[in-house]
């Protein structure tokens, strides 16, 4: 029997995941917790085979940070990140953390049970790409990783020079990127452009 821990701060999401897993006779849900920060504590004294981990959890705790810690201390525990946020960097971060799978609650056409079965049989199961979300006149596929980085830093409140220093490029280059972003999205104002990314949840900051 696969012992599953669900980590999600939304009761509806918890119930939804429970309902999905209830269709499998191989899985048993051990517990549901709201904060990813408590997941490692849970693994300390309980045998867990699989964690379905939300990324943005209660107490601003990052599921990705918790997954990295758990994989380091409990490598036998398999982790599937689940999220409804189309944030561009989550798939990459999940892979870096060592997670075995990644599943979008609202996007994609792969069933959760299918992902669970493949992960438990030793496969890595990731979507081919992040969902395509419209941002102004463009969509989320039209932007490079560097452009996403710059938008994230703008959302954090950094100015052009600070962004340039962090990325090791010139302020002029940063300005070029920003103008390109504004042209692609059709927003004349930088703050409106950043707000469009945040509103569409392509950029999520403030995770601990």
């Amino acid at each position: 029997m696969i012992r599953v821990l669900i980590v999600d701060d939304s009761r509806q999401s918890q119930f939804f995941l429970k309902t999905m897993l209830a269709q499998s006779t191989e899985c048993t849900i051990v517990d549901t917790i709201a904060s990813a920060a408590n997941a490692e504590l849970y693994c300390l004294g309980n045998r867990i085979d699989l964690i379905l981990m939300d990324i943005c959890t209660a107490d601003n705790a990052s599921g990705l940070a918790a997954a990295e810690k758990i994989k380091k201390n409990y490598p036998g525990v398999k982790i599937v990140m689940v999220t409804s946020m189309p944030e561009y960097s989550f798939i990459g971060q999940a892979k870096c953390a060592g997670c075995e799978g990644f599943w979008y609650k609202e996007y994609g056409d792969t069933e959760l049970l299918d992902v669970v079965q493949r992960v438990m049989s030793g496969e890595k199961c990731y979507p081919e790409e992040a969902p395509v979300i419209p941002v102004g006149l463009a969509n989320s596929k039209d932007f490079s990783d560097r452009e996403y980085e710059i938008v994230r830093m703008l959302a954090d409140g950094l100015n052009r020079q600070e962004i340039a220093d962090k990325l090791g490029i010139s302020a002029r280059t940063v300005r070029f990127y920003i103008e390109e972003l504004k042209t692609k999205t059709g927003h004349e104002d930088t703050m409106k452009m950043v707000a469009a990314f945040v509103e569409q949840k392509l950029i999520i900051n403030n995770l601990q």
Binding site: S10, Q12, F15, T19, I33, A37, E40, L41, D59, S84
Partner: protein, 440 residues
């Protein structure tokens, strides 16, 4: 011509040149007489002057004798058989005297104020300057002022009062514009935009020198200041516009906050209802009554939550602490609160983080099965002690990993985190705290 054979030819040429030079320098020394500090000319020293005059006349006569072929000896000779070498010496003395007096004059001019040096200094000033008497006649005018007057009026500056009248009547040259920079312009200050784009300012003053009054005109180039003033005016206008916008934004801030809160509620409703719809879809597809009943229960719970949204928000923090305690119990570690933490402290994320880290360390390293939490107020700080019944560290304790991050976070909030190893191992967390009464 016989007399000319007595003087060697080169010597004769030299004597002629020396005589001409002596005549020139001597004449110059008569004209360029020394001045005293009041500009009055002092006559050159009397005796040397007479001596030089006599010498010059005699040598001129000697030279005339030679060129006219008159005899140098006998009764017809000028200066009766004085040898020509003596004449050379006398010429040289004349020359020397003239050169000496010229040198003295030059040295004097270099070390004292004379009219010409004052004029030279005034001409090199960067401003235009003109002094005139009570009739408007120029006493001292520099080149800058002369050029300025010509550019402004199209003719040379003659009488200062006429010049000022032309300005007041606006009879200026083409492309020279008089500008009124200030609302209440002083009558003695005039500003002009010249043909070449420069902005010049003319000021008129009355000055008193040696109990006499003079009119002083000064022209200064204020192009840079004028451009700065222009920029400043534009910047001020822009700032004023921004200030109005900020005021308008501030007025809308409250409304924006309300809208943001409303939006957050809408997002939560959208997400939760979306999840429930997918859940209901699954339940209906499965056909299981139990699942459908559970789904219906969840719908009711969802609606109740949305109805009591405010309470839901406030319950969040206590539920998070309860979850930590619940998880700790599930891994075999009971958590006891010796004292009830104040609400303001219990809801702080850093306190939950500290309790969590303490439990992890207690179970992982100390094999503890009990964690006790107590607090006390120490002045304006609150001290929370989280102790456990596990083993004490054998080799000493150092903060690593999660505890180290926690320590830095607490320090940033103005608090402190330390470990105590007495009878029991304890983490002591100190945070700033203000009681409710004090906050009011």
């Amino acid at each position: 011509m016989s007399s000319m054979r007595l003087v060697p030819y080169p010597v004769l040429v030299g004597m002629v040149v020396a005589a001409i030079l002596a005549l020139v320098f001597f004449s110059a020394s008569l004209v360029l007489r020394l001045e005293d500090e009041k500009g009055r000319r002092k006559p050159a020293p009397f005796l040397p002057l007479i001596f030089a005059l006599a010498l010059t006349m005699s040598e001129m006569a000697f030279l005339r004798t030679i060129f006219l072929g008159m005899t140098l000896s006998g009764s017809g000779a000028f200066f009766q058989e004085v040898p020509w070498s003596i004449h050379i010496v006398l010429l040289l003395i004349m020359l020397g005297t003239a050169v000496w007096s010229m040198a003295r004059e030059i040295r004097y001019r270099q070390t004292h104020f004379v009219r010409s040096s004052i004029k030279e200094a005034v001409d090199t000033m960067p401003v235009g300057l003109c002094f005139a008497d009570q009739e408007g006649r120029q006493v001292l005018t520099n080149q800058s002022m002369i050029r300025f007057a010509e550019q402004l009026t199209g003719h040379t500056l003659s009488n200062v009062f006429s010049f000022l009248r032309e300005i007041k009547e606006d009879r200026l040259a083409e492309n020279c514009i008089r500008m009124d920079l200030f609302e209440n312009e002083d009558e003695d200050i005039y500003t002009f935009r010249m043909q070449d784009g420069r902005v010049l300012q003319l000021t008129r003053d009355l000055v008193t020198v040696a109990e006499e009054e003079y009119v002083q005109l000064v022209v200064t180039d204020i192009t840079m200041q004028h451009d700065f003033y222009d920029d400043l005016t534009k910047t001020n206008a822009a700032l004023l516009t921004q200030r109005k916008e900020m005021r308008s934004l501030a007025d809308r801030l409250i409304q924006s906050n309300h809208e943001e809160e409303l939006l957050n509620y809408k997002i939560q409703v959208h997400n939760d209802v979306g999840q429930m719809i997918m859940t209901a879809d699954q339940a209906l597809k499965s056909g299981s009554m139990q699942e459908m009943q559970e789904c219906a229960t969840q719908w009711i719970s969802l609606v109740e939550r949305f109805t009591n949204m405010e309470d839901e928000k406030n319950r969040g923090s206590s539920e998070l602490l309860e979850e930590i305690i619940k998880v700790a119990e599930q891994i075999g570690c009971k958590v006891f609160f010796r004292t009830d933490l104040p609400e303001q402290i219990a809801t702080q994320s850093v306190v939950r983080q500290a309790i969590r880290e303490a439990i992890v360390n207690a179970v992982k390293h100390g094999r503890a099965n009990e964690v006790t939490i107590a607090h006390r107020q120490v002045g304006r700080m609150i001290e929370i002690t989280i102790s456990n019944n596990g083993m004490l560290p054998a080799k000493g304790f150092s903060m690593k990993g999660g505890l180290k991050n926690l320590y830095e976070s607490i320090r940033g909030d103005g608090g402190d985190l330390r470990a105590e190893t007495g009878e029991r191992f304890a983490l002591v967390l100190t945070l700033p705290y203000m009681a409710r009464e004090e906050r009011k």
